[in-house]
Symmetry: C2
Subunit: 124 residues, 2 copies
DNA sequence: ATTTTTATTCTACATTTGTAGAGTATACTA
DNA sequence: TAGTATACTCTACAAATGTAGAATAAAAAT
């Protein structure tokens, strides 16, 4: 199961804060902020889906993510690659390098990141 | 406006075929195939959103995409980068290189693609 | 010409999603 | 301790989405 748009937005705040009480979550939103009950509903649904949990502090709850951002997006991006890029990372990479309007500087930065990752994989 | 899951799936078939009659679109689906009316509804909604159009051939329509796949996903991926990776391609690139479990071979292939893209940008 | 098939629209409905009021319980305050 | 604020749940409902039957129209087959 995956997150809806509204849940995803909320999850992003969760990921940013790592731990957060509901009232502080609401603060994260730009105006007009949603009603507390709206956020409460979303958090409940996200619990049901296994994406968040909380620690009870007195009478209120400190929420935290159960799913790491990188795992979530890894699954997400791999899904896109599987469904729309012929299950080929290279095909997606090609698209990404050519069609997302990266500057030369960004491309070079990305190449360095990949180089480092290759080294990291070889050495340890 | 963007596509829903079901519409996105259908769009993928449109992109693959480039031009296609509805009955052939239905053939693209794995069993159990959707009802023709289901596909018709989706196509109608996609027309309303400006994603597809058709050419009339006798009494039936040959549908074709109005939006290119690369443009669609460019927007999509850029949206993810903006919302969840701090609007930084490098941050997304880092994530992509490290956390999507690419093999060394895939990483090297990707580096080559990027190299070529850098050259292409420089020369013409 | 009548039946059958094909193509498309209209309408409908269940499910999911976005949003929040009303209610309840607990805690804080005057 | 009566009144107010806080935290959360339950219920509700509109909009979006997924799915398709019934109806209609045109074409093909007999």
């Amino acid at each position: 199961m995956s997150l809806t748009k509204a849940e995803e937005q909320l999850m992003e705040y969760l990921w940013q804060k790592e731990k957060v009480f509901m009232k502080d979550l609401i603060e994260c939103f730009p105006d007009p902020k949603p009603a507390t009950t709206t956020v409460a509903t979303l958090l409940k649904r996200m619990q049901d889906k296994g994406f968040v949990a909380y620690t009870l502090f007195g009478n209120s709850r400190e929420y935290y993510p159960l799913v790491e951002k990188k795992d979530y997006f890894s699954k997400h991006v791999n899904g896109i690659i599987k469904n729309f890029f012929n299950d080929s990372v290279a095909q997606f990479g090609s698209f990404f390098a050519r069609d997302t309007s990266m500057s030369t500087r960004e491309l070079e930065e990305l190449r360095n990141i990949i180089d480092e990752e290759i080294k990291r994989k070889q050495n340890g």
